[in-house]
Symmetry: C2
Subunit: 340 residues, 2 copies
DNA sequence: GAATTTTATGCCAGCGCTGGCAATTTTCTT
DNA sequence: AAGAAAATTGCCAGCGCTGGCATAAAATTC
């Protein structure tokens, strides 16, 4: 058992070359002879040598570490993003450092910058809703930190961003519901202050109007993206003498809450009331009735974002700056049906 | 705008001391005078100086990086663990590098060791079911890697482990069901080969027998911890002419599948059939009827594990070696009721 | 007040690696 | 075959920090 880990010196000595040459092999530099390269590779293998990332980073100002900054409002979403990011990291030899933050903290920007500097991260991916914070983005840019933002809505700066067009997604949902004959529709919105809340609402609203249905003010309830708020909002909506025939909740948690509330009132879903959600979370497919919802290409977004980030880190800026937009898709299940 | 980041030299120059003294302040060494320390701290503040972790690590053989190794069978569980680990990391100045692995890979051990070495991790936390792999644990120990395992069952080596006693948890569930008057109970087990499968089953079985009820062979179905397998197993169990009055599924996903299957057969839960799960996942509280289940102290386990790990890293081995056992608790909701 | 202990600070080497350039060898020209 | 160009390799400095020891200053002892 090797009591000490092999270093580049050991490899060089055994290969009878200078460490500089070994370094070239490690870094896939072309300026190395065939035979030499093969010999060195063999020795690296035999020795089970792994270059010391810290030393590499110190010398080359690289850490091969990416960061992920997020608040924690939706664990499931984050999980998918993390998976996507990791899959690309794996392919590219990077590791991922995860870093939850409080989006409401006064020192968010400072703390995020410090995080990146402290760990010498090569770049960071910022998840919604923190990604909507332009101060942060500005501070990172100022500190020459590579970053990519994931967002559900267009941001002030269209660069370094991967977005899913949720406006068009909720529009599609509106059209789908109208197509089923619904016109009086209840809408459970997200909390004020998040861009996604407005974006989703507007997309839905506009599409509805385009088809001659108006989203009445009393048919809009403000939730908080939580199960409980979904229950309350649904109760409110359904207490209206002129009850909606369908309810769209702007996330699945609230939609499930709405289903629970409606069932408690003795309503059958989807016979007496159609309900749809947004996220296609694990809940959507497990609940009875299975929930009609909207699926964002989360994993794909995460992958794209990571590819962009690594491109920027490697100085291949070509397409790194351009924003990327992906479209969510409608998933129809059993919680919605035509009015007939 | 600082074009270059401040280094320890800058701080030392401004404070008119040697970098060694600044280093002492950074590392909270006691051997520094009051006044000097205060002055240096002030300058660090003013300069917004952050020590370079790579350089620190290279010199001190420390990275302040912890790793988390896991396969991905249960995203929700992992999420909770990650949160717990991170909360301790935050308090202790460590960052967390996440590293999913394929538990069935031939090169799992090699890859894990390489991961730790490559990134110079100070330690790793290993999640189930990978934590059950003793080869891995052995290899890590051999390489002088600090690690702590999270497990649901006693492992061969009782050291470096935080376990939740699931045997007693399923025993409690069995007693609870017996207490409700159930005696003919269906059991949906996990896949073969995982220790938790056996542990949960035995705990349940033994407790049942202690109360004079036997778990008949035809009342045991083998699932795969998935929703679909829960459906299938429940169908099988319920197809038995002498139907069970209660079904315990060894995780929530399967329990939800069982509920779905039972409802499809026209059974009312809990009136015609009691169903219980294991995990207290998000599903359990969202589904109708709300699921009776077992909650493991996941976050607490994760925290304990991390504290242990950091203690080991810091050389405070005192209690670092002793294993820790935590007990899950029964969460009774609406999916179970007394017979009669 | 000299000797001793304690406290505070500085110096040097080196952690393991890469960048830039120089040196060497090989290959190609003419 | 001599000179030029290209391919290969090596040397040195230094990335930013800490460990170990030496030194200097202050506090304590007798």
């Amino acid at each position: 058992m090797l009591s000490k880990k092999a270093t580049i010196d050991d490899v060089a000595r055994l290969a009878d070359v200078s460490i500089r040459t070994v370094s070239r092999v490690i870094n896939d530099s072309p300026r190395v002879g065939q035979a030499t390269r093969a010999k060195i590779k063999q020795i690296i293998e035999d020795l089970n040598y792994h270059p010391n990332t810290q030393a590499r980073g110190l010398a080359a100002r690289r850490s091969y570490l990416l960061g992920m900054i997020y608040d924690n409002p939706d664990a499931l979403y984050i999980n998918d993003v993390q998976r996507g990011v990791l899959s690309v990291c794996r392919e590219s030899g990077y590791e991922l450092v995860v870093h939850p933050c409080d989006m409401h903290s006064d020192t968010l920007t400072e703390e995020a910058v410090s995080f990146v500097n402290r760990s010498q991260l090569d770049g960071v991916i910022i998840l919604p809703p923190i990604s909507e914070n332009n101060d942060l983005a500005g501070a990172l840019a100022k500190n020459n930190v590579n970053y990519v933002r994931l967002a559900s809505v267009p941001l002030d700066k269209a660069e370094h961003v991967v977005i899913s067009n949720e406006r068009s997604a909720t529009a599609a949902m509106a059209e789908y519901l109208v197509g089923l004959g619904h016109c009086r529709i209840g809408y459970i919105a997200g909390p004020k202050g998040m861009k996604s809340t407005r974006e989703r609402l507007e997309g839905f609203c506009d599409a509805l109007e385009k088809h001659g249905c108006k989203l009445e003010t009393e048919m809009i309830a403000r939730g908080a993206y939580t199960f409980e708020s979904g229950i309350e909002c649904a109760r409110m909506l359904l207490a209206n003498p002129n009850r909606p025939t369908a309810i769209f909740a702007s996330n699945d948690e609230m939609a499930v809450g709405a289903i629970t509330a409606a069932q408690e009132m003795g309503l059958k879903i989807p016979d007496d009331l159609s309900i749809a959600g947004f996220d296609d979370s694990i809940l959507a497919s497990r609940i009875t009735p299975r929930l009609t919802t909207i699926r964002r290409p989360v994993m794909q977004m995460a992958r794209k974002a990571t590819v962009k980030l690594i491109a920027a880190v490697d100085g291949r800026e070509e397409d790194a700056c351009r924003g990327v937009t992906l479209v969510p898709s409608l998933v129809t299940r059993d919680s919605t049906r035509s009015l007939d």
